[in-house]
Symmetry: C2
Subunit: 234 residues, 2 copies
DNA sequence: CGCCGTTTATTTGTATGACAAATAAGCCAT
DNA sequence: ATGGCTTATTTGTCATACAAATAAACGGCG
């Protein structure tokens, strides 16, 4: 997932570097950055590349530039917390339980509601896609295959809500949690434990039973929560 | 809310202009933009300013640039749907009922859950802030005062969840809905209708009763939904 | 004729230098 | 001490040149 060798471009590197520094707190809120010319030289890039990066960080709410005053790190409350990069930087810098709890909390709120909505709105095609994903999970022989199918299942379910905001939100949360999922899965010997629960969710969505789908999903998420917590602690 | 006269900067204008064009569909997905030099001249800005804008749009997932190939508009599924700008552009370009419904749906999912979480986690200070907001609503003499206090109430409640992801998500939804709220409020003669429901939510959070808070909020949101729908149709 | 490596042409990426615009801070006169 | 004026500093914008990547054209070879 994480492209290690692939250095996409200079300004991309700068975005990553500065973003990480800010989100991790090494550059505290309110603190002002060196002026562009100096910062550019210090990072060994041209002012052009630096500025392109700063515009992006600015769009993410991390910094704020004004003429004469310079560029300052903004308060945490102004950050685009739901931006994929910002989330990734947080995951990298605070692998504490508390942040994982917040991610899981989001999941607990979103997924059951999404399951219920999907049960109400899914089209025939969407149901077929969901079934295909389930079958792939059932047929999975190794952990990697199962993980791929699992993600596909959740993706299909979200698309079946026909609300792209919901889809987008969850994909963000999922990505962030992915960091820890890898860990949790590596440890679990029998990875197909959750299969029956996925079946329950699928069946409820097929039969258009929102409340049944919601309850099944509540259970599934709460189970996986304890797994993730165990993995993070370890 | 919307700064009409304030033209922040050139690249900011470019971001807005191109962003709007893409989200509205006037620049279709897959379509490739003119090359930078041409596009810059066509928009009467330097290539530098244009590029700074394009990097931001790229970060929002709207476009994708590659050497030799040029810059293309990305599929809708790659957009950062939860980005404040993207949402704003959507609100501006598709004032259809269906999008409002999606926003309201998000609200129906988030707010009750947030109320319940706040009832569990709120600190004494956060409760005090919530009460202050409620008192301001009760004391409001005109619509503007009430609107400000109303927003403050919801803001306080979300902060009381102590989950900044939740806070951030809702503030985005709220901003987007704000466009329509204005309309709905203008028409309602007795704007203080919702006051008793806010009291119920506040009381439940004070007494640390998650389920009561959730139910009260469910009711409040569903009431406001019908108001908004009426307003949008009008 | 068709395949495959090479060259070329085009487009984005990066660097540099110059100037415009805004504005905080210092200065000066009152 | 205060209010307006000047100045110095920093970001904002522009123009130009070159580097790097790579799709497309080319050309040699089986």
């Amino acid at each position: 997932m994480v492209k290690l060798g692939a250095v996409r471009s200079l300004h991309h590197q700068v975005i990553q570097e500065l973003g990480r520094l800010i989100v991790s707190g090494e550059l505290a809120a309110g603190q002002s950055l060196p002026r562009e010319e100096v910062l550019a030289e210090r990072m060994s890039v041209s002012r052009t590349a630096l500025r392109e990066a700063m515009k992006v960080l600015s769009a993410k709410g991390l910094i704020e530039s004004r003429q004469k005053t310079g560029t300052r790190v903004r308060e945490e409350s102004h950050w685009n917390q739901l931006d994929a990069d910002v989330l990734a930087w947080r995951c990298a810098s605070m692998p504490t339980e508390s942040f994982v709890d917040k991610l899981v909390e989001m999941r607990e709120i979103i997924e059951p509601a999404a399951a219920a909505t999907a049960a109400r709105r899914r089209s025939t095609e969407q149901l077929a896609a969901l079934e295909a994903a389930y079958q792939a999970m059932a047929a999975a022989e190794d952990l990697d295959a199962w993980t791929v199918a699992d993600l596909a299942f959740h993706e299909c379910m979200l698309q079946a809500t026909n609300n792209e905001l919901l889809t987008s939100l969850f994909s963000v949360i999922e990505t962030a949690l992915g960091t820890y999922f890898v860990l949790s899965a590596r440890n679990s010997a029998n990875f197909k434990n959750a299969l029956p629960q996925h079946l329950k969710v699928y069946e409820a969505i097929r039969r258009r039973q929102p409340e049944v789908a919601r309850q099944a999903m509540v259970k599934m998420v709460s189970d996986s929560r304890s797994n993730i917590r165990k993995a993070v602690r370890a």
